[in-house]
Symmetry: C2
Subunit: 141 residues, 2 copies
């Protein structure tokens, strides 16, 4: 463990896994619209959203994806981890009240610069909503 409680590179091995879950609320969607500047009607206009294939407002994809950032920072590798890259494939919509569970899995350890390739999938009620991978770096000791 590092001083913040995160894993050291030597603590990690392929297949290690951890989850972090967060309920996406209406307040989160409103606040995310503000911090991002994304006020797309599909997120903020129920009358419009109800007329689309989604049949109602959905959360911003990047808001659901932000739970991955929390899972990496809070759980695996944990505090101190630095984000290098992230890929995201949005598979299904997330709605206010849904609990997004991000599962982080160690896929590959890259000793040069203490980098780690992570699987980063998100589910709601067992259904995959985001698939992706992240490359992260652990802090220098």
């Amino acid at each position: 463990m590092n001083e913040l409680g995160g894993y050291e590179f030597e603590d990690l091995h392929p297949g290690m896994s951890a989850t972090y879950a967060k309920t996406i609320t209406e307040a989160d969607i409103v606040l995310f619209a503000g911090v991002s500047g994304d006020n797309n009607a599909i997120h903020t206009n129920e009358e419009f959203a109800a007329s689309t294939v989604f049949k109602g407002r959905i959360a911003h994809g990047m808001l659901s994806a932000s739970v991955i950032s929390a899972a990496i920072a809070n759980k695996l590798p944990g505090p101190g981890t630095i984000y290098m890259s992230q890929s995201l494939r949005f598979r299904a919509p997330v709605r206010a009240g849904d609990t997004v569970r991000a599962t982080i899995t160690v896929k590959e350890l890259i000793p040069e610069k203490s980098r780690v390739l992570l699987g980063t999938d998100c589910t709601v009620g067992g259904k995959v909503v985001i698939e992706g991978e992240a490359l992260v770096a652990l802090p220098a000791k």
Copy 2:
């Protein structure tokens, strides 16, 4: 233009480009920590962050990346666009007070299901902070 003011598939051609810029404030970082659940010390603890290679607090990578979501939703292709995937390579830190400018460029038009491949780069003061691509779908007419 569609009913929301976004581009139709037929309006787009490779090389089209648009930008959207947003200043990332301290309030945005605090709110993003709340909506994401990511309270990593590098974003919220100035004493710790000052001791790192970053020499102070930085914004969440996914917060800066959310300006891409806004650029797509607000500018190109504009309102009604649906996110399919996004890749993000974090190149440099963003700090409170920095203005993140997301530039969206049409790279490829995929007529099947009206999909569009976009370049999605973010800069601060002309320096690239995020490189990436997005695949989006335009709403059915």
